[in-house]
Amino acid sequence: MYGLGALAVARGPGEFTTYAGSSGLAATLAVFTGFALVVAGLVTSLTRPAGRIGDLALVAGFVWFAPFWVGWTGGPPLVRSLGMVFAGFLFPVLIHVVLAYPSGRLQSKLARLLVSSVYLEAVLSSLGRALFRDPYFDPKCWDNCTDNAFLVRSLPGVAHTIQVMDVWFVMAAAGALAAFCVWRLVAATGPARRVLWPMSVAGLVLGATTGAHSIALSRAAEDPLDPVFLSIFMIQCAAVVLLASGLLWTALRARVQRRSVGRIVAGLGEAPSPGSLQSALARAVGDPELRLAYWLPDSRRYVDPHGTPVREPVAAPGRAVTALVRDGRQVAVVTHAASVADLEREIGADVRLALDNERLQAEVLTQLIDLRASRARIVQTGDAERRRLERDLHDGAQQRLLALSYDLRLAAAAAQAEGEAETASLLADATGEAQAALGELRELAHGIYPAILTEAGVGSAIASLVDEAPLPVEVAETVEERYPAPVETAVYIVVAEAIEDAAARAATFVGLSLLRDGDRLVITVADDGSERTASMSHLADRVGALGGWLVVEPTTVRAEVPCA
């Protein structure tokens, strides 16, 4: 009604005092623009009641029609005077819409400063004009040269100064708006830019045309029939329509997004694999960089869907962090593009349930990872201890035995020289004992930890095992390269124990192969002995601690150990 009334004014008494009155085309465009703002505002407010941006657009739609009422020649003076006051707020409200897009909040200090100063200036200049401008005495008046219901005192000089200052201020603000829009578009990346560009283009055009309008005003009196003013007006209409459609598009996109976020759970199936929820969410909101992190209250840390610990998610330029809560507990934290608004609201109960499930799954996976690491540590600590023992035997006991046998030899030689044959023979026997002890010590140290394993690698160490084996061992394949110490030790022990076990089961032959298959070492030890009854579970523990596995069959042991 309001809009149609405005149209009636424009087509009738406002023929020469409104832009809409200048032609049928201008009227259609002007009214369409106003309605576009109103519709975009309504739709936005209804789909996203949280943001104020829809209400702002709605206000802009009403203010848009204010100049129509101003131009109501012969209309009620109060209506025309009110129109004068409101018309001054069109530009501030539009700036506010552009800068508050898409979240409805002014994100930067600069934007807040710009919007509040524009509002303040609009209040001051509208007030000044309402109180002191007598249209009769305004030489540049065009749309309303008769009525001002609020006039307190006619001060044409003050009114003129206010007009001029207003023109200059609006020109500066329009420039700032245009620059801000360009900067924001350039600074944004990826999905954020995709969301920003319609509003930024609209803001840029709006800034440019408002600036052009101010320049035109500073040169000539305003006249809707003047081709310059008329074309500026038309382009301005187009910019506002673009702005309104940007708002509409965003609102509809959010609806689509919400629906696809809602559909995620249906698409996941019954037993989703870890991480599938993250990729489904990423697809739904169109942000491939989206990441999910789960908070584990027991161990007080964040993990990803696979259970790997991650750092606490923090917002970064262009990236926002949204915490998702279910039954008062935080279940997940989403890191997403800042342009994806209201994620917290759009994720429904079923997705939260799925998230909670995946959080539990991630917790179990984390425990598995921890467990494996602690198993590996235990095995490594044991190995390091054995290695240390072996060294101590070599560097301590062995050196002392060497010294002892040296002294015994000297003593034997001395006894011999003094003709004490019996003592010399006893000492010679003692030397033999010391030598035997040295030999046994060497075997013992080798059994505790074969030094060759650390020094020459698992290939040489296995070759040495084969040399000493109590039964024939044929090596079909072996490796030359070095591998991480825990891997080499595990492989060595599997082979050593398998050979020992084969001998214990009266085998006459062992076939052995050790080869690298991608990122794993594959060990196969087969023999021709009687069937095995032992489970060799300690070998399975050792291999399992490295994330590998062991298969024990009656006469074959097969193990795979990750080695990359």
Binding site: D395, Q398, A403, G439, I452, D467, P472, E474, T508
Partner: protein, 214 residues
């Protein structure tokens, strides 16, 4: 004979030095790690360097690495490695590139001075010395179809002495036979094991050890 002794344990090193001196061998330098050893060898140009396999900083195979470096840089300087390990891999690694003038003996033989002096003499004469314990481990290795079973006991004995690096004459003296008999045995052995007979004595050691390890 001029010898450099390298061992990081002072007690052992001094014992060795004294025994060598008592046996009439001139010790021209002592070293407590591989770096000092290489320096002493450069300085004194000895006939042989007597090297412990375990030396600082890691106490693993520094001695072996130093021995290989000395053999590569000073062809006239022999090296006798003393080792705690009955590891054929180490012995093979030592003689792989320069099989002449090197030896690998177990550490406990060090105070059996006659064995050490004999080994040093053989090394100076250009021979190879491999500890009998290592050779007997290789000869005694279990094999499925043992080619060594075709050998007579005496031939097996000769094969072991060849693997220890002995020359035909030394084998003849040890077994109280003529050199000609030894030669006949060796021809038989190489034929039975299908080894190409090598004219070079050092390569012969290598070939026999590799065969035993295969």
């Amino acid at each position: 004979m001029r010898v450099v002794v390298a061992d990081d344990v002072m007690l052992t090193r001094e014992g060795i030095v004294r025994l060598l001196q008592d046996a009439g061998i001139e010790v021209v330098g002592e070293a407590e790690d591989a770096e000092a050893l290489v320096r002493e060898v450069n300085r004194t140009q000895p006939d042989v360097a007597l090297v412990d396999i375990r030396m600082p900083p890691t106490h693993t195979d520094e001695g072996l690495v130093a021995a290989q470096a000395i053999r590569a840089k000073h062809p006239d300087v022999g090296v006798l490695v003393l080792s705690q390990y009955v590891e054929p891999s180490y012995a093979l690694r030592l003689i792989q590139d320069h099989p002449e003038r090197v030896g690998y003996l177990l550490k406990e033989r060090v105070f059996d001075i006659a064995t050490v002096v004999d080994a040093l003499r053989r090394i100076v004469d250009g021979e190879t010395v491999i500890d009998p314990t290592i050779v007997s481990r290789l000869v005694g290795r279990r094999r499925r179809e043992d080619p060594l079973s075709q050998l007579t006991d005496r031939e097996r004995e000769v094969l072991g002495l060849v693997a220890e690096g002995m020359s035909n004459r030394a084998i003849a003296t040890r077994l109280f036979v003529t050199e000609r008999t030894v030669e006949a045995h060796i021809t038989q052995i190489f034929m039975k094991l299908q080894l190409p007979e090598s004219p070079d004595q050092h390569r012969r050691v290598l070939a026999v050890l590799a065969f035993l390890r295969a």
